[in-house]
């Protein structure tokens, strides 16, 4: 790892910490803007275009509005936990970016030898923050939402990790830098089933898309952040989009080969940003179209559909890695064929649970 300016560890650390914080804050504002402008054309309208040219200052206007709001804490809420919760939710997102390589060997600690394991461990910390928010608000809606979040996020960790292991097996290393530099063909072609499972699990981890029942507007009225206002609400909002940004960045690195592309010695960072944006637009497209799942359907989907498929994917990838020395390019046809067969086959076995519960009146 090259310590960038002056070969001094502390200078490197401070510089990249500053870069990461600025990147995350500006990235989140850009994401908010992109999301709202993209929802517009999908719904035959324009999206915000009044604040500044093309509406670019809209997130700035939102930020100013939120900062000027009164900070209300419910009377019977647990004050310290209520105050700490937004911080505990937001911090892990900044920490994820410590191991993300923006370019070959450049990042805070890009070739940490347990990079991807660190990412998975840190992103699981957000659950604690959400539970703190749900419990401390002294509100039944928040509590329902917090319980749902815990159940769902823990369940979806497993397919997420299993799909990542498929990638790790082929590369042979947990370090993020090596995963990108490892192979010529992007992994979303080599392990299409793994990519699909990762995308669905990531969507659930970030409480977005068809899996957003943690903060379902139409049922539990904003869920765990129902009693937050002002800057604390802004932290939750930042955390949600920041987590989306983090997951898109991880997906871009794992499955789309990060900074590689034509001319990547000079504009590698640009390629990284473009790929992150592409995955984010994919997430927006999915969110725009579909209604949401119910909690028991969500859990059934994780445990009965994604988990067995992730296991089978892992088995197949492991078999390929053991059987062949170098993974040749034609393996991707085999994997695509496998995915094409497995998904319809497994859908036939997948039975949704739930249904009416007999209630003793």
């Amino acid at each position: 790892m090259e310590l960038w300016p002056l070969d001094n560890y502390w200078a490197h650390f401070v510089l990249f910490a500053a870069i990461i914080i600025v990147f995350v804050l500006i990235g989140v504002m850009a994401y908010v803007y992109v999301e709202r402008r993209t929802f517009g054309p999908f719904q035959l309208r324009w999206g915000p275009n009044r604040a500044g040219p093309f509406g670019i200052l809209q997130p700035v206007a939102d930020a100013i509005k939120v900062l000027l709001k009164e900070d209300i804490v419910p009377a019977k809420a647990d004050k310290w936990v209520h105050w700490l919760a937004p911080i505990v939710v937001f911090l892990p997102i900044l920490m994820i970016f410590a191991v993300v390589p923006f370019h070959e060997g450049q990042g805070l600690v890009p070739d940490l030898n347990v990079g991807i394991l660190y990412v998975v461990a840190i992103s699981a910390l957000g659950v604690v923050g959400i539970f703190m928010a749900g419990w401390a608000s002294n509100n039944k809606y928040s509590l329902i939402s917090a319980m749902r979040v815990i159940a769902a996020m823990i369940s979806y960790e497993i397919p997420l990790v299993l799909s990542i292991i498929g990638v790790v097996l082929i590369t042979g290393s947990l370090s993020m830098n090596d995963i990108v530099a490892g192979h010529n063909i992007p992994f979303f072609l080599l392990t299409p089933l793994g990519f699909l499972i990762f995308l669905l699990s990531a969507m659930s981890e970030i409480n977005r898309g068809p899996f957003d029942l943690m903060e379902a507007d139409s049922e539990i009225v904003a869920g765990f952040h129902i009693e937050y206002s002002g800057m604390k609400f802004a932290m939750f909002y930042l955390a949600e989009y920041g987590h989306a940004l983090a997951m898109s960045a991880i997906a871009a690195i794992l499955f789309f080969r990060g900074w590689e592309g034509p001319g990547s010695e000079y504009i590698g960072v640009l390629w990284f940003l473009v790929k992150t944006l592409f995955i984010f637009v994919l997430l927006i497209w999915i969110r725009v179209t579909f209604p949401r799942l119910r909690i028991d359907q969500l859990m059934a989907f994780a445990w009965k559909f994604l988990f067995p498929l992730a296991l089978i994917n892992l088995l197949v990838v492991a078999a390929e890695v053991v059987a062949l020395e170098e993974i040749p390019w034609w393996i991707l046809f085999v994997n695509f064929a496998l995915a094409g067969v497995l998904i319809p086959l497994w859908s036939k076995f997948f039975k949704l649970g739930g249904g009416r519960v007999e209630v003793k009146v």
Partner: protein
Amino acid sequence: MKLKFERYGKGLAKGMALTFRHLFRQRITTQYPEERLTPSKRFRGYELVWDKERCTGCATCAKSCPQGEIVIVTSKGEGNKYVVEKFELDSGRCIFCGLCVEACPYDALFLGLDYERASYRRGELVLSKEQLERTPEKQISAYFHPEVEASLPRQTLLLERAGRKRQK
């Protein structure tokens, strides 16, 4: 009750294809202060226009208002005619149903075409005789007065605005 997902995601893909197609369609919203749509010729707009010459003070309009918002006070003038001293409308409470326009036997009441009449105080919404008088600037609508229809511009219809770039 158990459900089987026999369709392995095909329905989801079709839905996503439809939203994707909508990206290339014409946007149907208008940018309000710069582009305005023309309301219909019979638009029951947010004002009442009173033709002083034709009004005889019979107060049929006041009797036909469901809310009782029109207040008319007349006094005896020369001959057998009334002189209208006070003709007041509380436009904050009026529901613009148009029953007064229909009831007037002398065609002295019209509804207007204006809809941008917000004010800062509720008291300003009570319109007095002078504010209700018909002047050439006030555009009157053709609601129950078909003779005015010819002079009004054509209504913008979404059918025509959005029909141009439909994808087949």
